[in-house]
Every structure is written in structure tokens, then in C-alpha cells.
């Protein structure tokens, strides 16, 4: 296994971000755009029409062979054995302790080939984890550094992509995946995302990334597509209550307390299944609850209090531009996770009132 280079990487779209005037930050070892025009404007573009994301930092593993499905079914919490060709599913890589190694999407590309998309910060760790648990008749290929990922998300994404693709992307169901040409580039196109909107993720080789990016920006000009940075990606995903690995979930959290029990198919065998099943049966001691904070913005690491006593901590917090509220996720003792419970978040030494609310904070109206 190759050692991870300590250098800061650039995606094949780095020059595009520079041309578009993006503010860049280092994230998971990559120089990534945090924002272009501004987080709120970008957030609203995705909710209102469409936004374009460079997610080339994400990792892509390919597992091929007759044993690929069985290997993934043992490694991932969700029902991978039941995945049809052309379908994708969200799930968790779990360990024997029943905690979360990563959250991933598994795509069944063909009869005997699967793609696993992992978080950029976890590529090396996940690769080691998967390789250590590889079953028979399966070949593993980490193409993370050669694969670019461009996402187009928002209500107008489908028409923009349809104008550039030879595949009938309108007919692709949610969590469907297909091989297609996009702006003449060979691509794997999936109707998946991390924004709470309809949208697509388009996987191409690094060499084709700029062509696809430019074509989507140009085709989206009329509906007003905007490039979207990691800042808005975070506000979008938090409104939709998607977990962020390293913030809301990690190897100290289990799927049940994180509210991800629905991703665990407990009637199959997978790493940590018994621990997770026991946890579910006895009920978690704490839960990841949604909070609306009344004055001030809660941030990762802030303490949650009740009557001045620290009872938990915030894992994610921001201002939600669509819900127009300060929203947060926090681990709190199960009895305090009941909807309507009034707690507080300690912001700069002051206990600011926060109410436990139903999540997601935002759901799109589906037709």
C-alpha cells in the first residue's frame, strides 16, 4: 500500500475555481473552494434553481469480482446484497465495536462491479479497513486520485444535465446510477447528493473534469446555475440533517445514537452488528438531537447545558439560510432529546436558549 503523500492536493478543477474568484481553504488535504459569491447566495441558488460542486476530493473505491457484493455486504451496515445493478445505497462502514468508520454510498455499477464513495479525510483509513476485510473473488482498486466528481444539485439540475447527456437522466430514479456521456465525456451518473435537493453526481476521469464543469456552467446559464463552495455545502447538508463525518459521527459514535439506525440491516451479518443490535434493544443513552438556538450561532464543540449543568455537546451548528434559524445538532441524554425540550447552548460563556426540534430542519416539497 502506498503511503499517503503529505502534500496538499489540488483537484483538476483548481484553475476553474481561481478563475471564478473562489476563496480557497485546505480541507481533508485538498485546496478546496469554500465560497465564490457568498455562502447565503450559493445556498439559495441550490434550493431555488441549481448549483455546481467540485467534489473531486471524495474517494472512490472499486470492488470487482464475484465476491465483491459479499465483501461489501459484510463491511457496510445497509442492504448491499439486495442492491440491483444501477442502484446505489447509503450505509456505514462499521467496526467490530459497532462504531462508525465512515459513511459511504455504494453504487452497483454492473453485475460484479461496485463503486464505494468515501469521505476525503478517510481515504487512507477506509482503504486499509476494506483491504483488511477483503473476501474471496474480489479485486480492490482505489481510484480516488484519478477520479473527479462534479455534482449538480437543485430543482433545475435535471434539465441542465439532460441537455448535455445522451442518457435519459430524467428517467433515472433517486439513488439510480448509470453509465452515460456528459458533454461527450464518459461518465458514471448517479441521482445522489448531499443537499436535500434533487440532483446528480457525475464521476469522470481527472482529464475530463474541466470539460464537464465548463459545459454544465454554460448549459446552466439561463436557469442561473452557480458554482457552490464547501461553505454552502455545509449549510445545505445541515438543514437536510445529513451527517458530517468527523463532526456528527466518528469512531466514538454508534449508528443508533446518531439517528442512523435506519441504515443498519440487523438481520444480516456485518461488522459490529451484535453490538449495534444490543444498543438498539437497550436504547441509546444519548441521542443526536436537532436544536434551534434563539440567540447566537452554535458551533461544533459548544457545550449544551440544562439549568447551568453541562449535559452534552454540539456537533454541527450554523445559520440555516432557508429555514432562517440558527440550527444545530447535539448529543444530549436520551430523556432530554424529546421534541420541545428547552436546553441551552453555552456560547462565549453565556447559556443561550435552544429548543429540541424535529429534523430534518428542511425538507423539499416533492411532486
Amino acid at each position: 500500500m502506498a503511503a499517503e503523500a503529505p502534500t496538499i492536493r489540488r483537484t483538476p478543477l483548481y484553475d476553474k475555481h481561481a478563475e471564478l474568484g473562489a476563496k480557497m481553504v485546505t480541507f481533508a488535504g485538498y485546496e478546496m473552494p469554500i465560497q465564490y459569491e457568498g455562502i447565503v447566495a450559493e445556498h439559495r441558488a441550490v434550493r431555488g434553481y441549481a448549483g455546481l460542486f467540485d467534489l473531486s476530493h471524495m474517494g472512490e473505491f472499486f470492488l470487482k469480482g464475484r465476491g465483491a457484493g459479499a465483501t461489501l455486504d459484510r463491511l457496510v451496515s445497509s442492504d448491499i446484497a439486495g442492491l440491483a445493478v444501477g442502484q446505489a445505497r447509503y450505509g456505514l462502514l462499521t467496526n467490530d465495536r459497532g462504531t462508525i468508520v465512515d459513511d459511504v454510498i455504494v453504487y452497483r455499477i454492473s453485475e460484479a462491479e461496485y463503486m464505494v464513495v468515501v469521505n476525503a479525510a478517510n481515504i487512507a483509513k477506509d482503504r486499509a479497513h476494506v483491504l483488511a476485510h477483503l473476501g474471496e473473488d474480489v479485486a480492490f482498486d482505489d481510484r480516488s486520485y484519478g477520479t473527479a466528481l462534479v455534482a449538480i444539485q437543485g430543482p433545475r439540475a435535471v434539465e441542465i444535465l439532460a441537455s448535455l447527456s445522451d442518457a435519459d437522466v430524467r428517467a433515472l430514479p433517486s439513488f439510480g446510477v448509470t453509465q452515460a456521456r456528459v458533454a461527450r465525456a464518459r461518465a458514471t451518473v448517479a441521482r445522489t447528493g448531499y443537499t436535500g435537493e434533487d440532483g446528480f453526481e457525475i464521476f469522470v476521469t481527472n482529464a475530463e473534469a474541466a470539460k464537464v464543469w465548463d459545459a454544465l456552467l454554460a448549459a446552466g446559464r439561463a436557469p442561473g446555475v452557480k458554482p457552490i463552495g464547501l461553505g454552502a455545502r455545509d449549510t445545505l447538508r445541515l438543514e437536510a440533517r445529513f451527517s458530517l463525518y468527523g463532526n456528527d459521527i466518528d469512531e466514538t459514535t454508534d449508528p443508533i445514537e446518531a439517528g442512523l439506525g435506519w441504515t443498519c440491516k440487523l438481520d444480516k451479518d456485518f461488522s459490529g452488528r451484535d453490538v449495534i443490535a444490543a444498543k438498539k434493544a437497550e436504547g441509546p443513552k444519548r441521542r443526536l438531537a436537532g436544536l434551534v438556538v434563539q440567540g447566537g450561532v452554535a458551533r461544533h464543540g459548544h457545550e449544551v447545558t440544562q439549568s447551568g449543568e453541562v449535559v452534552g455537546h454540539v456537533t454541527s451548528g450554523t445559520y440555516g439560510p432557508t429555514v432562517e434559524k440558527n440550527i444545530a445538532l447535539a448529543y444530549v441524554p436520551t430523556p432530554l432529546s424529546k421534541l420541545g425540550t428547552v436546553l441551552a447552548v453555552r456560547i462565549r460563556g453565556k447559556d443561550v436558549p435552544a429548543t429540541v426540534v424535529k429534523t430534518p430542519f428542511y425538507s423539499r416539497v416533492t411532486r
Binding site: 457568498g38 455562502i39 447566495a41 440567540g295 450561532v297 458551533r299 445559520y319 439560510p321 440558527n326
Partner: protein, 134 residues
Amino acid sequence: MSTVPDDLKYSKEHEWVRADGDLVTIGITHFAQEQLGDVVFVELPEKGATVRQFSSLGVVESVKAASDIYAPISGEVVERNVKVIEKPELVNSAPYGDGWMIRVRLADKGELAQLLSPDDYRSHIGETAGAGGD
């Protein structure tokens, strides 16, 4: 709108001061709001509170992060901008106008001399001296 108006004084921490006798108005600069991004929350001291030069007087939070606002001068708060607490985006849209923060009765006029002139502030933020206008 100039990004560094000529009739104001500035602090290195990117606050501005408009002096009117011994009453001064304080806000954060165009450069500061641009660095912060979309401002979503402003916390200001109550009327009657005392602020000390170069100590924190309040907080502005953008979507990304919280930043302290430092008092460019010392004195007693005679008014705080209720409008900017209700509509924090005024900090972005009108940093020198409706996005002002507090009015303070100067404790020591001499402190004004420790602040930067528009030209000094321009070079502090890397703008060419004298380049007004937008």
C-alpha cells in the same frame, strides 16, 4: 460608496469611528464585512455599558465563524443599533451606514490620535493609498 471613506478613522482590527464632538459612532469596515461573509448575528453591549479601547465590545457572526468587535476608543455606550441586531445583513449591505454598531461618549479624546487615517488604513489592508471610490 467608498470602501474606505475619507471622513472616518480606523483601527487595525477593522473598526471605523465617526467622531461628532465627544460622541462617536462605531462600526466595522467594508473590508471586514467582506472577509466575514454573510453576517447572521450581532451581539452588542447595552446602553450604559462601558467599553475600553482595544477590548472586545461585542461579536459578529457570519455563517462561517464568530469574530470579536474591538472598541476603537473607550467610553460609555449611549446607543446601540437595534436595527442591526434585528437585520444583521445590514453589516454587509451598509457597513458605514445602517450597519453601524454603537454610539459611545468618548472618555478620552486623546485616544482618537491612536487610530489610523484613511490612507494608513488603506495601506493596512493592502489598498493603494488614496484609491477611494468603489
